[in-house]
């Protein structure tokens, strides 16, 4: 438990020394209990960090001199997903804040701020370390878009259209649950945590990119609050109206149906990951949320889950 207390209480300097596996354990520790929205908001106030305090000077040297071209390509190929992902979850979240309880709205204000800060984190990394050109946040995003694989484009697009649907009636419980399944369960609970595990394990094992490691590990700790909020929201929604479980299922059917498409190959082997390991990682991330939160899934979805493609980023 000591490690997990360290995870909860570290400042940015201390986060640099944390093991990413302890942070991932911290994400899941509270899934069975699921803290309420006010507790998560209080935690946010203690854990927020300053993205402009990060120092990328060693990262620049590692990127240019110590990493191979193959490693750089794989790293950009996978992290570009969340360069765009952080922006997507930032801009599509305000519409969700319009519905729900007052406690939920107060908590949501903190998550919107987190996601904006995460967007700045990637903007700084892509600008200062990778060296992508651009004067504005949008220009840097445009420069990295070609590296974003379908694994991310599909779910982020789905979220954008679900947010538009929610805009018509922000209190519609079924639309909120469908949106929440894509956002909190799949994009945060599976895609984000998988990208974190892959890139941060690489950084830690090789001793590379300390600025990225610190910022994205702090991001992962923020993600613990987001995923716990989301799983609490889904659990409470289904407890209140069991028919909403079908909305989770329909959303998962669409997500899993589009998950297999990848137009390019990306060799994650150079970061130390085989396709089979990536596949197991994603399945485990999804299973942990579903079982800990008690979301039952029918046989056809279980079958789709077991077929999850190894091509997290197309390879």
């Amino acid at each position: 438990m000591t490690e997990l207390t360290d995870v909860a209480e570290s400042d940015l300097r201390g986060i640099r020394d944390l093991d990413i596996d302890d942070v991932l354990a911290y994400v899941h520790r509270d899934l069975k209990r699921l803290p309420d929205y006010t507790e998560l908001y209080k935690r946010y106030l203690r854990q927020r960090w300053d993205v402009y305090e990060l120092d990328f000077s060693q990262d620049v040297a590692d990127w240019r001199e110590r990493m191979t071209q193959e490693e750089r390509d794989a790293f950009v190929g996978i992290s570009a997903g969340f360069h765009h992902g952080e922006r997507q979850v930032e801009v599509e979240l305000p519409v969700f804040m319009l519905g729900g309880s007052e406690e939920s709205k107060i908590y949501m204000s903190s998550q919107i701020e987190d996601e904006a800060r995460h967007t700045v984190f990637f903007d700084r990394f892509y600008r200062e370390v990778v060296g992508m050109p651009g004067d504005s946040v949008q220009e840097v995003l445009d420069a990295s878009f070609e590296h974003v694989s379908e694994t991310f484009v599909g779910p982020f697009g789905l979220l954008a259209y679900q947010a538009d649907e929610l805009r018509k009636d922000p209190e519609d419980p079924a639309a909120r649950v469908r949106y929440g399944t894509t956002y909190f369960l799949w994009i945060e609970g599976v895609l984000a945590l998988s990208v974190m595990k892959i890139t941060l394990t690489y950084c830690r094992e090789r001793g590379f990119l300390p600025g990225y490691y610190t910022g994205f590990t702090a991001t992962c700790r923020d993600e613990a609050r987001h995923v716990q909020f989301g799983m609490r929201f889904l659990r409470d929604s289904v407890q209140e109206d069991p028919r909403l479980l079908l909305q989770i299922h329909e959303t998962l059917r669409t997500i899993l149906a589009i998950n297999g498409a990848a137009s390019r190959r990306l060799a994650l082997e150079s970061l130390g990951w085989t396709p089979e390991e990536v596949r197991r990682l994603m399945i485990r991330q999804l299973h942990m949320k579903l079982t800990d939160v008690g979301i039952a899934i029918p046989p056809d979805i279980r079958e789709m889950v077991s077929r999850i493609e190894p091509e997290l980023a197309g390879g």
């Binding site: 878009f145 697009g157 954008a160 259209y161 679900q162 538009d164 649907e165 469908r178 589009i258 297999g260």
Partner: protein, 135 residues
């Protein structure tokens, strides 16, 4: 050929039916699209917000059977619309996946989950019809 004329609509039908150039993307990606397309029966209406005109594409059993230009898209399963700027960007080579991800083409009517279940088939169809030469 002028954009959003009957002649262009027929060329768009033929282009989406043939699909885009397959070079440069993994065969497994096209397999996914072929599976999504097999037996696909639905009608898409793709509009220009400023003029209120829609290109209606009717898919029947995986073939794009009919196309027309209309200002009444009410018979379509999925009604989408974008501004003239977005259509111009697409004709100039903008990535259609990016256009979807940034919701530049809005779904005005239709089931979001069902629409997304074939999303890359839709994206590649949008690519195919955007590449038609127009003046």
């Amino acid at each position: 050929m002028r954009f959003f004329t009957p002649e262009w609509a027929e060329a768009a039908r033929a282009a989406v039916d043939a699909g885009p150039e397959r070079a440069g993307k993994l065969p497994t990606y096209w397999n996914w699209i072929d599976r999504a397309r097999t037996g696909y029966t639905a009608t898409w209406a793709l509009g220009v917000r400023e003029t209120g005109e829609y290109l209606v594409l009717r898919w029947k059993d995986g073939k794009c059977a009919e196309a027309e230009i209309t200002s009444d898209p009410s018979a379509a399963d999925y009604v989408l619309a974008a501004g003239a700027d977005t259509w111009r960007e697409l004709r100039e080579g903008a990535d259609p996946g990016r256009v979807v991800m940034y919701r530049q083409l809005r779904l005005e009517r239709g089931d979001v989950l069902a629409f997304f279940r074939v999303i890359y088939f839709f994206v590649e169809s949008l690519a195919a019809l955007s590449r038609l030469r127009t003046d």
